[in-house]
Amino acid sequence: MPHVQANGLSFHVQVIRGDDASSPASSAASSAGPRPPVVMLHGLVIDNLSSWFYTLAHPLALTCDVHLYDLRGHGRTDQPPTGYGVDRQVDDLVALLDAWGLDEPVHLFGNSFGAVVALALANRHPERVASLFLVEAHFAVEGWAEHMAGSLALAAFGLDENTSQEWIENNADRKMSRLARRAERFLADTTLIQDLKEEQPIGWLPQISCPVRAMYGSESDILHLAEALETQIPGCELEIVPGTTHSLLTERSELVRERALEWMARQRAVATAGA
């Protein structure tokens, strides 16, 4: 599998670049202009780049250059014992953008914790971010660090009741039992929980200046963050999807895909008009 050395670690990456001609919507509109660079960031612990690989990466790759990577500690990327704070993960992303030669602003897609890193890059290096597409975005508000650390600590001791029940029923399931074992080891062997516990609430959302699109499920446990995002980021476009939980990306992948394609078509149109 392709790996890139960045910020002292070996990152598993996938760069997906399709052919405009294979797009069913291929037309003057879709083939006009350059292919915008897209970078996608996944969620915590049991997640990895495959959630994007299975859902949005390929449809978007017909008109964009899509870059996926496994965050440190996840998937097939190195798992160092320390360094899981948001700042360090933004350093990882900057080093990867440099390694990929992406000097122009990129369109970031963030799912769950991936949105934390995406937002933080837009704050620290606004010149490197063209737009943000956020699915069930986490970000640090008052009490967030303790809550995240607490739920991960719970997971480290055998996961919450419903989930462990489900996993026990599937104990002959190779895939789930391996995922569970690996998640347990990740939490036990690294400072991830401690590092997240030290995150401070952010006060800089109003300074985010790029276009932002956010989606949350109406049944999400972090729905309160949707309102905070919409009120604090100027021009943030928010959509609440009825009957959907925090697993919006997989529960409603077809809808999220539609929205993402619309979003990138708009970003391309704006870029073309401004060129």
Binding site: D19, S22, L49, S50
Partner: protein, 115 residues
Amino acid sequence: MPGQFPTPAMAEAPTATATGAAAPSRDDVRAELERILTDVVGDDLLLDGPLTDETSFDADLQLESIEFVALADQLLATYGEQVDFVGWMAGMQLDEIIGLTVGQVVDFVVSAVEG
């Protein structure tokens, strides 16, 4: 049905996949897929029996999603120049990708190479 379905007869014709000079047969592609799977997940997975067209990557082989990414990687390395994997994947929804069987991948590669 002789003459009615020329495609299967073509698939049985001698091939030269190593040089890429001719289209691989279904058996060639399935053998390559088996080699890649063994490489990606180890041969213990295949102890239950040989791969068939009905074998599913998720339900039967219990492939982790990140292992499926590795498998796609290797398929791309082998057939990528002849086959538009991105366009193929882009046309499928999540549940279709999760439900993929060996036979579907073999059919796609064979038909794409034949053009």
